[in-house]
Subunit: 318 residues, 2 copies
Protein backbone atom coordinates (compact mmCIF):
# COMPACT_ATOMS: atom_id res chain seq x y z
CA UNK A 1 0.00 0.00 0.00
CA UNK A 2 1.36 3.39 -1.04
CA UNK A 3 0.67 5.42 2.06
CA UNK A 4 3.00 8.34 1.55
CA UNK A 5 4.23 10.94 -0.88
CA UNK A 6 7.21 13.26 -0.81
CA UNK A 7 6.37 16.94 -1.16
CA UNK A 8 9.10 19.32 -2.28
CA UNK A 9 8.73 23.08 -2.50
CA UNK A 10 11.54 24.87 -4.31
CA UNK A 11 11.74 28.50 -3.25
CA UNK A 12 14.19 31.17 -4.31
CA UNK A 13 16.10 30.75 -1.03
CA UNK A 14 15.04 27.53 0.67
CA UNK A 15 13.87 24.19 -0.57
CA UNK A 16 11.46 22.55 1.87
CA UNK A 17 10.53 18.89 1.70
CA UNK A 18 8.73 16.33 3.77
CA UNK A 19 6.98 12.97 3.98
CA UNK A 20 3.20 13.40 3.79
CA UNK A 21 0.45 10.82 4.26
CA UNK A 22 -2.87 10.70 2.42
CA UNK A 23 -4.56 12.76 5.13
CA UNK A 24 -2.13 15.63 4.79
CA UNK A 25 -0.11 14.88 7.90
CA UNK A 26 3.54 15.71 7.58
CA UNK A 27 5.50 12.91 9.26
CA UNK A 28 8.87 14.53 8.91
CA UNK A 29 10.28 17.58 7.17
CA UNK A 30 13.55 19.34 6.49
CA UNK A 31 15.01 22.00 4.24
CA UNK A 32 18.10 22.87 2.25
CA UNK A 33 19.39 25.91 0.42
CA UNK A 34 18.19 26.13 -3.18
CA UNK A 35 21.04 27.99 -4.80
CA UNK A 36 24.03 26.67 -2.84
CA UNK A 37 25.06 24.13 -5.47
CA UNK A 38 27.11 24.51 -8.60
CA UNK A 39 24.80 22.44 -10.76
CA UNK A 40 21.29 21.04 -10.70
CA UNK A 41 22.82 17.54 -10.46
CA UNK A 42 24.53 18.46 -7.19
CA UNK A 43 21.30 19.97 -5.92
CA UNK A 44 19.41 16.77 -6.70
CA UNK A 45 22.16 14.74 -5.03
CA UNK A 46 21.79 16.90 -1.92
CA UNK A 47 18.03 16.29 -1.93
CA UNK A 48 18.58 12.56 -2.38
CA UNK A 49 20.95 12.39 0.57
CA UNK A 50 18.46 14.18 2.81
CA UNK A 51 15.23 12.57 1.57
CA UNK A 52 16.33 8.97 1.10
CA UNK A 53 16.74 8.38 4.87
CA UNK A 54 13.24 9.83 5.40
CA UNK A 55 11.87 7.33 2.90
CA UNK A 56 13.62 4.49 4.67
CA UNK A 57 12.33 5.60 8.09
CA UNK A 58 8.77 5.64 6.70
CA UNK A 59 9.06 2.02 5.60
CA UNK A 60 10.91 2.14 2.28
CA UNK A 61 10.22 3.09 -1.28
CA UNK A 62 7.30 0.67 -1.71
CA UNK A 63 5.31 2.73 0.76
CA UNK A 64 5.56 5.79 -1.51
CA UNK A 65 3.29 6.78 -4.36
CA UNK A 66 5.74 9.34 -5.70
CA UNK A 67 7.30 12.75 -5.38
CA UNK A 68 5.45 16.01 -5.99
CA UNK A 69 7.42 19.17 -6.70
CA UNK A 70 6.33 22.81 -6.69
CA UNK A 71 8.86 25.05 -8.40
CA UNK A 72 9.00 28.56 -9.83
CA UNK A 73 8.11 28.31 -13.54
CA UNK A 74 7.51 24.61 -13.12
CA UNK A 75 5.53 23.19 -16.03
CA UNK A 76 3.11 20.39 -15.24
CA UNK A 77 2.88 19.19 -18.85
CA UNK A 78 6.61 18.85 -19.48
CA UNK A 79 8.00 18.37 -15.97
CA UNK A 80 10.51 21.09 -16.80
CA UNK A 81 11.54 24.16 -14.86
CA UNK A 82 11.71 26.80 -17.57
CA UNK A 83 13.67 30.04 -17.29
CA UNK A 84 13.05 30.59 -13.57
CA UNK A 85 14.36 34.04 -12.76
CA UNK A 86 15.14 33.27 -9.10
CA UNK A 87 17.00 30.00 -9.63
CA UNK A 88 20.67 29.51 -10.39
CA UNK A 89 20.07 26.87 -13.08
CA UNK A 90 19.04 28.72 -16.18
CA UNK A 91 17.32 27.64 -19.38
CA UNK A 92 15.06 24.60 -19.49
CA UNK A 93 15.75 22.01 -16.78
CA UNK A 94 14.05 18.59 -17.17
CA UNK A 95 13.72 18.47 -13.41
CA UNK A 96 10.96 15.85 -13.00
CA UNK A 97 12.76 13.44 -15.29
CA UNK A 98 16.12 13.97 -13.53
CA UNK A 99 14.50 13.43 -10.13
CA UNK A 100 12.66 10.30 -11.28
CA UNK A 101 15.93 8.84 -12.50
CA UNK A 102 17.75 9.54 -9.25
CA UNK A 103 14.97 8.45 -6.89
CA UNK A 104 13.52 5.61 -8.93
CA UNK A 105 10.04 7.01 -8.26
CA UNK A 106 7.25 8.72 -10.12
CA UNK A 107 7.74 12.51 -10.02
CA UNK A 108 5.14 15.16 -10.81
CA UNK A 109 5.97 18.83 -11.00
CA UNK A 110 4.01 22.04 -11.25
CA UNK A 111 4.61 25.68 -10.47
CA UNK A 112 4.76 26.67 -6.82
CA UNK A 113 1.55 28.72 -6.85
CA UNK A 114 -0.39 25.83 -8.39
CA UNK A 115 1.02 23.51 -5.76
CA UNK A 116 -0.22 25.87 -3.05
CA UNK A 117 -3.71 25.84 -4.64
CA UNK A 118 -3.68 22.02 -4.65
CA UNK A 119 -2.76 22.09 -0.96
CA UNK A 120 -5.65 24.46 -0.18
CA UNK A 121 -8.06 22.25 -2.08
CA UNK A 122 -7.01 19.01 -0.41
CA UNK A 123 -6.14 20.14 3.12
CA UNK A 124 -6.85 23.84 3.56
CA UNK A 125 -9.46 26.57 3.33
CA UNK A 126 -10.78 25.36 -0.04
CA UNK A 127 -11.56 21.79 1.03
CA UNK A 128 -14.54 20.58 -0.95
CA UNK A 129 -14.54 23.54 -3.34
CA UNK A 130 -14.36 23.02 -7.08
CA UNK A 131 -13.96 26.66 -8.09
CA UNK A 132 -11.51 28.94 -6.31
CA UNK A 133 -8.43 31.09 -6.81
CA UNK A 134 -5.39 31.20 -4.54
CA UNK A 135 -3.37 34.41 -4.47
CA UNK A 136 0.05 34.35 -2.81
CA UNK A 137 1.11 37.78 -1.58
CA UNK A 138 4.81 37.40 -0.84
CA UNK A 139 7.95 38.82 -2.39
CA UNK A 140 5.94 38.48 -5.60
CA UNK A 141 2.27 37.80 -6.32
CA UNK A 142 1.52 34.25 -7.40
CA UNK A 143 -1.75 32.57 -8.24
CA UNK A 144 -3.33 29.19 -8.66
CA UNK A 145 -6.71 28.88 -10.35
CA UNK A 146 -9.02 25.93 -9.83
CA UNK A 147 -12.00 25.35 -12.13
CA UNK A 148 -14.15 22.24 -11.89
CA UNK A 149 -11.75 20.82 -9.33
CA UNK A 150 -8.75 21.09 -11.62
CA UNK A 151 -5.79 23.47 -11.67
CA UNK A 152 -6.00 25.68 -14.76
CA UNK A 153 -2.82 25.08 -16.75
CA UNK A 154 -3.73 26.56 -20.11
CA UNK A 155 -2.61 25.25 -23.48
CA UNK A 156 1.09 25.40 -22.56
CA UNK A 157 1.09 24.90 -18.79
CA UNK A 158 1.73 28.57 -17.94
CA UNK A 159 -1.76 29.76 -17.01
CA UNK A 160 -2.40 31.58 -13.75
CA UNK A 161 0.07 34.45 -13.83
CA UNK A 162 -2.37 36.86 -12.21
CA UNK A 163 0.41 38.83 -10.52
CA UNK A 164 1.34 40.10 -13.97
CA UNK A 165 -2.12 41.32 -14.92
CA UNK A 166 -2.35 45.08 -15.30
CA UNK A 167 -4.40 47.08 -12.83
CA UNK A 168 -2.93 50.56 -13.30
CA UNK A 169 -2.24 51.08 -17.03
CA UNK A 170 0.85 53.20 -17.39
CA UNK A 171 1.54 52.84 -13.68
CA UNK A 172 4.56 51.76 -11.68
CA UNK A 173 7.07 49.75 -13.67
CA UNK A 174 7.78 46.17 -12.58
CA UNK A 175 11.54 45.75 -12.37
CA UNK A 176 11.53 42.12 -13.42
CA UNK A 177 9.17 42.33 -16.40
CA UNK A 178 9.39 45.97 -17.49
CA UNK A 179 5.59 46.06 -17.61
CA UNK A 180 3.73 49.04 -16.19
CA UNK A 181 1.04 48.80 -13.53
CA UNK A 182 0.89 45.08 -12.85
CA UNK A 183 -0.66 43.72 -9.66
CA UNK A 184 2.69 42.39 -8.47
CA UNK A 185 4.22 45.87 -8.65
CA UNK A 186 1.76 46.98 -5.96
CA UNK A 187 0.35 44.11 -3.92
CA UNK A 188 3.56 42.17 -3.19
CA UNK A 189 5.75 42.83 -0.15
CA UNK A 190 8.15 44.50 -2.58
CA UNK A 191 5.34 46.61 -3.98
CA UNK A 192 4.18 47.71 -0.53
CA UNK A 193 7.73 48.78 0.25
CA UNK A 194 7.76 50.88 -2.92
CA UNK A 195 4.40 52.41 -2.02
CA UNK A 196 5.84 53.29 1.39
CA UNK A 197 8.87 55.00 -0.11
CA UNK A 198 6.66 56.91 -2.55
CA UNK A 199 4.19 58.05 0.09
CA UNK A 200 6.91 59.12 2.53
CA UNK A 201 8.48 61.22 -0.21
CA UNK A 202 5.17 62.66 -1.39
CA UNK A 203 4.14 63.76 2.10
CA UNK A 204 7.38 65.06 3.66
CA UNK A 205 5.40 67.12 6.16
CA UNK A 206 3.41 64.17 7.57
CA UNK A 207 5.09 62.57 10.58
CA UNK A 208 5.54 58.79 10.39
CA UNK A 209 7.15 56.12 12.54
CA UNK A 210 8.65 54.75 9.33
CA UNK A 211 10.91 57.79 9.06
CA UNK A 212 13.06 56.36 11.86
CA UNK A 213 14.15 53.63 9.42
CA UNK A 214 16.76 53.92 6.73
CA UNK A 215 14.97 53.68 3.40
CA UNK A 216 16.62 50.35 2.57
CA UNK A 217 15.25 48.91 5.82
CA UNK A 218 11.61 49.74 5.15
CA UNK A 219 9.75 46.48 4.51
CA UNK A 220 6.10 45.47 4.44
CA UNK A 221 6.66 44.29 8.03
CA UNK A 222 7.81 47.79 9.04
CA UNK A 223 4.71 49.23 7.39
CA UNK A 224 2.52 46.76 9.25
CA UNK A 225 4.12 47.48 12.64
CA UNK A 226 3.69 51.21 12.09
CA UNK A 227 0.07 50.82 10.95
CA UNK A 228 -0.78 48.82 14.07
CA UNK A 229 0.57 51.70 16.14
CA UNK A 230 -1.76 54.12 14.36
CA UNK A 231 0.69 55.54 11.83
CA UNK A 232 -1.44 57.40 9.26
CA UNK A 233 0.81 56.89 6.24
CA UNK A 234 1.26 53.20 7.05
CA UNK A 235 -2.50 52.78 7.33
CA UNK A 236 -2.97 54.57 4.04
CA UNK A 237 -0.54 52.14 2.42
CA UNK A 238 -2.79 49.27 3.44
CA UNK A 239 -5.87 51.12 2.18
CA UNK A 240 -4.17 51.74 -1.15
CA UNK A 241 -2.85 48.19 -1.48
CA UNK A 242 -6.24 46.75 -0.57
CA UNK A 243 -7.96 49.02 -3.08
CA UNK A 244 -5.76 47.79 -5.95
CA UNK A 245 -5.88 44.18 -4.85
CA UNK A 246 -9.67 44.31 -4.53
CA UNK A 247 -10.06 45.73 -8.02
CA UNK A 248 -7.86 42.97 -9.39
CA UNK A 249 -9.83 40.30 -7.52
CA UNK A 250 -13.08 41.66 -8.99
CA UNK A 251 -11.61 41.16 -12.46
CA UNK A 252 -10.61 37.58 -11.63
CA UNK A 253 -14.08 36.82 -10.27
CA UNK A 254 -15.73 38.03 -13.47
CA UNK A 255 -13.46 35.66 -15.38
CA UNK A 256 -14.07 32.36 -13.60
CA UNK A 257 -16.81 33.02 -11.02
CA UNK A 258 -15.11 31.19 -8.14
CA UNK A 259 -16.73 30.27 -4.86
CA UNK A 260 -13.79 31.71 -2.92
CA UNK A 261 -10.51 33.56 -3.16
CA UNK A 262 -7.90 32.30 -0.73
CA UNK A 263 -5.11 34.72 0.21
CA UNK A 264 -1.78 33.43 1.28
CA UNK A 265 1.78 34.59 2.00
CA UNK A 266 3.65 37.07 4.17
CA UNK A 267 1.60 40.17 3.36
CA UNK A 268 -1.59 38.49 4.66
CA UNK A 269 -0.21 38.63 8.22
CA UNK A 270 -1.75 42.11 8.25
CA UNK A 271 -5.16 40.44 8.60
CA UNK A 272 -8.18 42.73 8.53
CA UNK A 273 -6.00 45.75 7.89
CA UNK A 274 -5.54 44.35 4.39
CA UNK A 275 -8.71 42.28 4.11
CA UNK A 276 -11.22 45.05 4.81
CA UNK A 277 -10.17 47.53 2.10
CA UNK A 278 -9.61 44.61 -0.29
CA UNK A 279 -13.11 43.26 0.22
CA UNK A 280 -14.65 46.72 -0.09
CA UNK A 281 -12.91 47.45 -3.40
CA UNK A 282 -13.66 43.97 -4.69
CA UNK A 283 -17.39 44.21 -4.02
CA UNK A 284 -17.57 47.76 -5.38
CA UNK A 285 -16.20 46.61 -8.73
CA UNK A 286 -18.33 43.52 -9.25
CA UNK A 287 -21.45 43.51 -11.38
CA UNK A 288 -24.63 42.53 -9.55
CA UNK A 289 -24.65 38.84 -10.30
CA UNK A 290 -21.35 38.33 -8.43
CA UNK A 291 -21.88 40.64 -5.45
CA UNK A 292 -21.83 39.25 -1.88
CA UNK A 293 -21.25 35.75 -3.16
CA UNK A 294 -17.53 35.19 -3.23
CA UNK A 295 -15.76 34.26 0.01
CA UNK A 296 -12.55 36.20 0.55
CA UNK A 297 -10.47 34.29 3.05
CA UNK A 298 -7.01 33.56 4.34
CA UNK A 299 -5.29 30.23 3.96
CA UNK A 300 -5.81 27.84 6.87
CA UNK A 301 -2.49 26.14 6.31
CA UNK A 302 0.73 27.06 8.04
CA UNK A 303 2.80 28.67 5.33
CA UNK A 304 5.77 26.36 5.75
CA UNK A 305 3.53 23.28 5.61
CA UNK A 306 1.28 24.46 2.82
CA UNK A 307 3.95 24.32 0.18
CA UNK A 308 5.01 20.78 1.08
CA UNK A 309 1.40 19.62 1.37
CA UNK A 310 0.51 21.18 -1.95
CA UNK A 311 3.42 19.58 -3.72
CA UNK A 312 2.64 16.17 -2.23
CA UNK A 313 -1.00 16.58 -3.25
CA UNK A 314 0.08 16.40 -6.90
CA UNK A 315 0.72 12.73 -6.34
CA UNK A 316 -2.72 11.92 -4.95
CA UNK A 317 -4.46 13.91 -7.65
CA UNK A 318 -4.35 11.07 -10.19
Amino acid sequence: MEDYAIGIDIGGTNTKFGVVDRNGHILEQDRTLTNAHESVQEYIEDLYEKIRPMIDRAGGIDKFAGIGVGAPNGNYYTGNIEYAANLKWQGIIPFASMMATRFGMRVKLTNDANAAAMGEMMYGAARGMKHFITITLGTGVGSGIVIDGKIVLGHDGFAGELGHTIIRPGGRVHKGTGIHGSLEAYASATGMRETALEMLTQHPETPSLMRTYKSEDITSQVVYDAAVKGDKIAQEIFEFTGQLLGEALANFIMFSSPEAIVLFGGVTKAGDMLLNPTRQAMEANLVQVFKNKVKLMFSELKEADAAILGASALIWES
Copy 2:
Protein backbone atom coordinates in the same frame (compact mmCIF):
# COMPACT_ATOMS: atom_id res chain seq x y z
CA MET B 1 -30.57 8.08 -35.59
CA GLU B 2 -30.62 11.59 -34.16
CA ASP B 3 -29.17 13.55 -37.02
CA TYR B 4 -30.28 17.04 -36.15
CA ALA B 5 -30.52 19.61 -33.41
CA ILE B 6 -32.44 22.87 -33.16
CA GLY B 7 -30.31 25.91 -32.40
CA ILE B 8 -32.02 28.99 -30.98
CA ASP B 9 -30.29 32.29 -30.35
CA ILE B 10 -32.28 34.77 -28.29
CA GLY B 11 -31.10 38.32 -28.91
CA GLY B 12 -32.42 41.55 -27.51
CA THR B 13 -34.27 42.25 -30.76
CA ASN B 14 -34.42 39.09 -32.86
CA THR B 15 -34.60 35.42 -32.04
CA LYS B 16 -32.92 33.29 -34.70
CA PHE B 17 -33.39 29.57 -34.98
CA GLY B 18 -32.62 26.76 -37.34
CA VAL B 19 -32.21 23.06 -37.96
CA VAL B 20 -28.55 22.04 -37.79
CA ASP B 21 -26.93 18.71 -38.61
CA ARG B 22 -23.93 17.16 -36.84
CA ASN B 23 -21.54 18.76 -39.33
CA GLY B 24 -22.77 22.24 -38.62
CA HIS B 25 -24.83 22.65 -41.76
CA ILE B 26 -27.93 24.73 -41.29
CA LEU B 27 -30.72 23.04 -43.22
CA GLU B 28 -33.28 25.73 -42.65
CA GLN B 29 -33.51 28.87 -40.55
CA ASP B 30 -35.93 31.61 -39.61
CA ARG B 31 -36.35 34.36 -37.06
CA THR B 32 -38.95 36.07 -34.92
CA LEU B 33 -39.08 39.14 -32.71
CA THR B 34 -37.98 38.50 -29.14
CA ASN B 35 -39.98 41.08 -27.28
CA ALA B 36 -43.20 41.18 -29.32
CA HIS B 37 -45.17 38.91 -26.98
CA GLU B 38 -47.01 39.67 -23.79
CA SER B 39 -45.67 36.66 -21.92
CA VAL B 40 -42.91 34.11 -22.20
CA GLN B 41 -45.63 31.46 -22.80
CA GLU B 42 -46.79 33.31 -25.91
CA TYR B 43 -43.20 33.66 -27.06
CA ILE B 44 -42.63 29.92 -26.69
CA GLU B 45 -45.91 29.24 -28.52
CA ASP B 46 -44.69 31.44 -31.39
CA LEU B 47 -41.42 29.51 -31.51
CA TYR B 48 -43.31 26.21 -31.49
CA GLU B 49 -45.51 27.24 -34.39
CA LYS B 50 -42.48 28.24 -36.46
CA ILE B 51 -40.09 25.44 -35.47
CA ARG B 52 -42.45 22.47 -35.39
CA PRO B 53 -42.97 22.47 -39.21
CA MET B 54 -39.16 22.60 -39.63
CA ILE B 55 -38.86 19.51 -37.46
CA ASP B 56 -41.49 17.72 -39.52
CA ARG B 57 -39.79 18.66 -42.80
CA ALA B 58 -36.50 17.24 -41.48
CA GLY B 59 -38.12 13.87 -40.79
CA GLY B 60 -39.89 14.29 -37.46
CA ILE B 61 -38.98 14.54 -33.83
CA ASP B 62 -37.15 11.18 -33.72
CA LYS B 63 -34.49 12.62 -35.97
CA PHE B 64 -33.67 15.28 -33.36
CA ALA B 65 -31.28 15.04 -30.43
CA GLY B 66 -32.64 18.15 -28.79
CA ILE B 67 -32.83 21.92 -28.67
CA GLY B 68 -29.93 24.17 -27.73
CA VAL B 69 -30.62 27.74 -26.65
CA GLY B 70 -28.27 30.69 -26.25
CA ALA B 71 -29.82 33.52 -24.24
CA PRO B 72 -28.69 36.63 -22.42
CA ASN B 73 -28.04 35.67 -18.77
CA GLY B 74 -28.85 32.08 -19.63
CA ASN B 75 -27.59 29.72 -16.93
CA TYR B 76 -26.36 26.32 -18.07
CA TYR B 77 -26.68 24.74 -14.64
CA THR B 78 -30.27 25.72 -13.98
CA GLY B 79 -31.67 26.16 -17.49
CA ASN B 80 -33.02 29.51 -16.32
CA ILE B 81 -32.80 32.94 -17.88
CA GLU B 82 -32.04 35.13 -14.87
CA TYR B 83 -32.65 38.88 -14.75
CA ALA B 84 -31.79 39.57 -18.39
CA ALA B 85 -31.72 43.34 -18.78
CA ASN B 86 -32.65 43.32 -22.49
CA LEU B 87 -35.59 40.93 -22.31
CA LYS B 88 -39.21 41.73 -21.54
CA TRP B 89 -39.67 38.76 -19.19
CA GLN B 90 -38.12 39.76 -15.91
CA GLY B 91 -36.98 37.78 -12.89
CA ILE B 92 -36.01 34.11 -13.15
CA ILE B 93 -37.54 32.29 -16.13
CA PRO B 94 -37.23 28.45 -16.17
CA PHE B 95 -36.87 28.64 -19.94
CA ALA B 96 -35.28 25.26 -20.67
CA SER B 97 -37.88 23.43 -18.66
CA MET B 98 -40.77 25.35 -20.28
CA MET B 99 -39.38 24.64 -23.75
CA ALA B 100 -38.86 20.96 -22.99
CA THR B 101 -42.46 20.66 -21.88
CA ARG B 102 -43.82 22.35 -25.01
CA PHE B 103 -41.58 20.60 -27.55
CA GLY B 104 -41.31 17.20 -25.84
CA MET B 105 -37.57 17.29 -26.42
CA ARG B 106 -34.38 17.65 -24.41
CA VAL B 107 -33.45 21.35 -24.08
CA LYS B 108 -30.07 22.75 -23.05
CA LEU B 109 -29.49 26.42 -22.42
CA THR B 110 -26.49 28.64 -21.86
CA ASN B 111 -25.68 32.29 -22.20
CA ASP B 112 -25.35 33.67 -25.70
CA ALA B 113 -21.61 34.38 -25.48
CA ASN B 114 -20.92 30.83 -24.34
CA ALA B 115 -23.04 29.51 -27.20
CA ALA B 116 -20.93 31.52 -29.61
CA ALA B 117 -17.76 30.02 -28.13
CA MET B 118 -19.23 26.52 -28.57
CA GLY B 119 -19.96 27.36 -32.19
CA GLU B 120 -16.38 28.53 -32.76
CA MET B 121 -15.01 25.38 -31.17
CA MET B 122 -17.14 22.99 -33.17
CA TYR B 123 -17.46 24.75 -36.51
CA GLY B 124 -15.40 27.94 -36.55
CA ALA B 125 -11.97 29.45 -36.06
CA ALA B 126 -11.28 27.45 -32.88
CA ARG B 127 -11.87 24.00 -34.39
CA GLY B 128 -9.62 21.52 -32.62
CA MET B 129 -8.57 23.96 -29.90
CA LYS B 130 -9.04 23.12 -26.25
CA HIS B 131 -8.05 26.50 -24.81
CA PHE B 132 -9.41 29.72 -26.27
CA ILE B 133 -11.45 32.80 -25.46
CA THR B 134 -14.17 34.32 -27.63
CA ILE B 135 -14.80 38.04 -27.29
CA THR B 136 -17.93 39.49 -28.87
CA LEU B 137 -17.58 43.17 -29.67
CA GLY B 138 -21.11 44.32 -30.37
CA THR B 139 -23.49 46.66 -28.60
CA GLY B 140 -21.86 45.22 -25.49
CA VAL B 141 -18.76 43.09 -24.94
CA GLY B 142 -19.46 39.43 -24.30
CA SER B 143 -17.11 36.54 -23.73
CA GLY B 144 -16.94 32.78 -23.74
CA ILE B 145 -13.96 31.03 -22.16
CA VAL B 146 -12.94 27.50 -23.07
CA ILE B 147 -10.45 25.58 -20.92
CA ASP B 148 -9.63 21.92 -21.57
CA GLY B 149 -12.34 21.83 -24.22
CA LYS B 150 -15.08 22.95 -21.84
CA ILE B 151 -16.89 26.25 -21.44
CA VAL B 152 -15.93 27.85 -18.15
CA LEU B 153 -19.14 28.28 -16.16
CA GLY B 154 -17.82 28.92 -12.66
CA HIS B 155 -19.43 27.75 -9.45
CA ASP B 156 -22.77 29.39 -10.25
CA GLY B 157 -22.88 29.35 -14.05
CA PHE B 158 -22.07 33.06 -14.47
CA ALA B 159 -18.36 32.94 -15.34
CA GLY B 160 -17.01 34.73 -18.39
CA GLU B 161 -18.17 38.31 -17.89
CA LEU B 162 -14.97 39.77 -19.29
CA GLY B 163 -16.75 42.84 -20.68
CA HIS B 164 -17.20 43.97 -17.09
CA THR B 165 -13.55 43.65 -16.08
CA ILE B 166 -11.92 46.98 -15.27
CA ILE B 167 -9.19 48.29 -17.53
CA ARG B 168 -9.23 52.00 -16.62
CA PRO B 169 -9.74 52.30 -12.85
CA GLY B 170 -11.81 55.40 -12.16
CA GLY B 171 -12.48 55.74 -15.88
CA ARG B 172 -15.64 56.13 -17.94
CA VAL B 173 -18.79 55.02 -16.14
CA HIS B 174 -20.78 52.14 -17.62
CA LYS B 175 -24.42 53.21 -17.79
CA GLY B 176 -25.81 49.75 -17.17
CA THR B 177 -23.63 48.70 -14.23
CA GLY B 178 -22.46 52.00 -12.73
CA ILE B 179 -18.91 50.62 -12.68
CA HIS B 180 -16.03 52.82 -13.79
CA GLY B 181 -13.56 51.87 -16.50
CA SER B 182 -14.84 48.48 -17.63
CA LEU B 183 -13.85 47.01 -20.99
CA GLU B 184 -17.43 47.20 -22.26
CA ALA B 185 -17.52 50.97 -21.63
CA TYR B 186 -14.74 51.34 -24.23
CA ALA B 187 -14.50 48.41 -26.62
CA SER B 188 -18.18 47.95 -27.50
CA ALA B 189 -19.87 49.76 -30.38
CA THR B 190 -21.52 51.91 -27.72
CA GLY B 191 -18.13 52.62 -26.15
CA MET B 192 -16.57 53.58 -29.49
CA ARG B 193 -19.40 56.02 -30.06
CA GLU B 194 -18.70 57.57 -26.66
CA THR B 195 -15.00 57.78 -27.43
CA ALA B 196 -15.89 59.55 -30.68
CA LEU B 197 -18.07 62.11 -28.93
CA GLU B 198 -15.36 62.73 -26.33
CA MET B 199 -12.58 63.13 -28.86
CA LEU B 200 -14.60 65.43 -31.10
CA THR B 201 -15.32 67.63 -28.08
CA GLN B 202 -11.74 67.56 -26.82
CA HIS B 203 -10.27 68.57 -30.18
CA PRO B 204 -12.72 71.17 -31.50
CA GLU B 205 -10.04 72.60 -33.82
CA THR B 206 -9.28 69.30 -35.57
CA PRO B 207 -11.38 68.83 -38.71
CA SER B 208 -13.27 65.54 -38.97
CA LEU B 209 -15.72 63.94 -41.39
CA MET B 210 -17.71 62.90 -38.34
CA ARG B 211 -18.63 66.51 -37.66
CA THR B 212 -21.10 66.37 -40.55
CA TYR B 213 -23.24 63.99 -38.45
CA LYS B 214 -25.59 64.94 -35.67
CA SER B 215 -24.11 63.63 -32.44
CA GLU B 216 -26.94 61.12 -31.98
CA ASP B 217 -26.15 59.66 -35.42
CA ILE B 218 -22.49 58.94 -34.72
CA THR B 219 -22.05 55.18 -34.50
CA SER B 220 -19.07 52.85 -34.64
CA GLN B 221 -19.95 52.41 -38.33
CA VAL B 222 -19.63 56.16 -38.91
CA VAL B 223 -16.26 56.09 -37.14
CA TYR B 224 -15.16 53.23 -39.35
CA ASP B 225 -16.26 54.90 -42.59
CA ALA B 226 -14.44 58.08 -41.59
CA ALA B 227 -11.27 56.20 -40.60
CA VAL B 228 -11.18 54.41 -43.96
CA LYS B 229 -11.28 57.81 -45.64
CA GLY B 230 -8.24 58.92 -43.63
CA ASP B 231 -10.01 60.87 -40.89
CA LYS B 232 -7.39 61.46 -38.17
CA ILE B 233 -9.75 61.49 -35.19
CA ALA B 234 -11.55 58.38 -36.41
CA GLN B 235 -8.23 56.59 -36.84
CA GLU B 236 -7.20 57.66 -33.35
CA ILE B 237 -10.43 56.18 -31.98
CA PHE B 238 -9.44 52.80 -33.38
CA GLU B 239 -5.91 53.17 -31.99
CA PHE B 240 -7.34 54.01 -28.57
CA THR B 241 -9.93 51.22 -28.64
CA GLY B 242 -7.31 48.71 -29.78
CA GLN B 243 -4.92 49.85 -27.05
CA LEU B 244 -7.50 49.23 -24.31
CA LEU B 245 -8.75 46.00 -25.82
CA GLY B 246 -5.19 44.72 -26.22
CA GLU B 247 -4.36 45.46 -22.59
CA ALA B 248 -7.49 43.62 -21.49
CA LEU B 249 -6.65 40.64 -23.71
CA ALA B 250 -3.16 40.48 -22.17
CA ASN B 251 -4.79 40.18 -18.75
CA PHE B 252 -7.06 37.39 -19.97
CA ILE B 253 -4.12 35.52 -21.47
CA MET B 254 -2.21 35.64 -18.20
CA PHE B 255 -5.26 34.11 -16.54
CA SER B 256 -5.92 31.07 -18.70
CA SER B 257 -3.07 30.92 -21.25
CA PRO B 258 -5.27 30.21 -24.27
CA GLU B 259 -4.05 29.15 -27.68
CA ALA B 260 -6.17 31.80 -29.37
CA ILE B 261 -8.50 34.69 -28.85
CA VAL B 262 -11.34 34.83 -31.34
CA LEU B 263 -12.97 38.20 -31.94
CA PHE B 264 -16.52 38.41 -33.08
CA GLY B 265 -19.33 40.93 -33.58
CA GLY B 266 -20.04 44.16 -35.39
CA VAL B 267 -16.98 46.14 -34.29
CA THR B 268 -14.66 43.53 -35.85
CA LYS B 269 -15.80 44.59 -39.32
CA ALA B 270 -13.04 47.20 -38.99
CA GLY B 271 -10.53 44.40 -39.59
CA ASP B 272 -6.84 45.35 -39.34
CA MET B 273 -7.71 48.88 -38.31
CA LEU B 274 -8.78 47.36 -34.98
CA LEU B 275 -6.65 44.21 -35.01
CA ASN B 276 -3.25 45.89 -35.44
CA PRO B 277 -3.34 48.25 -32.44
CA THR B 278 -5.02 45.52 -30.39
CA ARG B 279 -2.30 42.99 -31.15
CA GLN B 280 0.43 45.54 -30.47
CA ALA B 281 -0.96 46.50 -27.04
CA MET B 282 -1.63 42.87 -26.19
CA GLU B 283 1.92 41.75 -26.91
CA ALA B 284 3.41 44.79 -25.15
CA ASN B 285 1.63 43.87 -21.93
CA LEU B 286 2.40 40.16 -21.82
CA VAL B 287 5.24 38.71 -19.78
CA GLN B 288 7.85 36.83 -21.78
CA VAL B 289 6.42 33.35 -21.46
CA PHE B 290 3.23 34.36 -23.30
CA LYS B 291 4.67 36.60 -26.01
CA ASN B 292 4.18 35.77 -29.70
CA LYS B 293 2.27 32.62 -28.83
CA VAL B 294 -1.40 33.52 -28.75
CA LYS B 295 -3.30 33.72 -32.03
CA LEU B 296 -5.52 36.78 -32.27
CA MET B 297 -8.11 36.11 -34.94
CA PHE B 298 -11.56 36.90 -36.22
CA SER B 299 -14.43 34.44 -36.19
CA GLU B 300 -14.78 32.38 -39.35
CA LEU B 301 -18.50 32.00 -38.92
CA LYS B 302 -21.11 34.22 -40.50
CA GLU B 303 -22.50 36.18 -37.57
CA ALA B 304 -26.12 35.19 -38.19
CA ASP B 305 -25.19 31.52 -38.46
CA ALA B 306 -22.73 31.45 -35.56
CA ALA B 307 -25.34 31.99 -32.92
CA ILE B 308 -27.60 29.23 -34.22
CA LEU B 309 -24.67 26.85 -34.71
CA GLY B 310 -23.34 27.58 -31.26
CA ALA B 311 -26.69 26.98 -29.61
CA SER B 312 -27.20 23.71 -31.50
CA ALA B 313 -23.68 22.63 -30.51
CA LEU B 314 -24.84 22.45 -26.89
CA ILE B 315 -26.77 19.35 -27.84
CA TRP B 316 -23.83 17.51 -29.40
CA GLU B 317 -21.54 18.39 -26.52
CA SER B 318 -22.74 15.54 -24.30
